[in-house]
């Protein structure tokens, strides 16, 4: 399984998380859905779909939290028969990122994912460049940015 990162500081924390949590698929993206790193995906189209859906779910839960007048939810877990999906935000020096983690119930568990996710968040916070301003992607540039990210993630 391959791990790729658009920004190098993400790579090591992500590799460590995947190994320790036993994650099957991982996406790290901006709240807008711009992918910064991935593990386990073999097709760009799957990354695009997962990023769009993950970002949309985060936006929805953030809005629910806002309407309930409370801070954004810490994480969201959906568990199926064989797989679980864990979605949570990570504060970094490059702004808030969103992590989408898919894990096999045979190989991992929500407890393990949560445990090592906390470490991932701390590692990303420590590794992220502190002095840079988070890059804002305009709607007009989104497709080109997405295409560039996918090219990097899939080595094109």
């Amino acid at each position: 399984m391959t791990t790729r990162a658009v920004e190098p500081w993400i790579f090591e924390p992500l590799v460590k998380f995947v190994k320790e949590a036993g994650a099957r698929l991982v996406l790290l993206m901006t709240p807008a859905g711009q992918v910064l790193a991935q593990h386990g995906f073999s097709r760009a189209v799957d990354v695009m779909s997962a990023a769009a859906l993950g970002a949309a779910i985060m936006a929805s839960t953030d809005e629910i939290a806002r309407q309930l007048r409370q801070p954004p939810f810490a994480g969201l877990n959906h568990q199926g028969e064989r797989h679980g999906i864990f979605l949570a935000a990570v504060p970094t020096g490059r702004g808030r990122l969103v992590a989408l983690v898919v894990y096999d119930l045979d190989a991992s568990s929500l407890g393990l994912v949560q445990l090592f996710f906390d470490e991932l968040a701390a590692d990303l916070q420590a590794a992220s460049p502190k002095d840079s301003v988070p890059k804002r992607v305009l709607a007009a540039d989104f497709e080109r940015e997405l295409s560039d990210s996918l090219n990097t993630l899939f080595g094109r």
Binding site: L105, S108, S109, L110, L112, L115
Partner: protein, 119 residues
């Protein structure tokens, strides 16, 4: 020491009253989350729960592969302590964290009683 909800608190008391036990937990076997805990300061409950459940799952598969049936009790002895676990019928794990020189037989007995009470 952290406290557990009343009903579970009595179950965990069975284990923590044994001399040398530093904490006890009920852990959801499927997802490795803490159901209830009574732990001394310094023991990382969520980490112990997640890793113990992961280990229990792998041990269960190893025992099944070996054709020896379901595991009932396991005991990991370390330099500075021990981890003792019994699986209840519902799949909940009853976990004890103990001193290295704890009376293992007594802890095992109380873990089995606690597992029976949990169901």
């Amino acid at each position: 020491m952290t406290t557990a909800p009343a009903g579970f608190g009595r179950v965990l008391d069975l284990v923590t009253r044994v001399r040398g036990v530093r904490g006890a937990m009920l852990v959801a076997g499927d997802d490795g989350l803490v159901v209830a805990e009574q732990l001394m300061e310094g023991i990382k409950g969520p980490a112990v729960a997640a890793l113990a459940a992961s280990l229990a799952s792998r041990l269960r598969r190893a025992l099944e592969a070996a054709g020896v049936g379901a595991g009932q009790f396991w005991h990991l002895q370390a330099e500075q302590g021990a981890l003792l676990v019994v699986t209840a019928a519902s799949g909940v794990l009853v976990v004890a964290v103990a001193e290295p020189d704890v009376n293992v037989g007594l802890v095992r007995l109380e873990l089995l009683r606690a597992a029976e009470a949990v169901g």
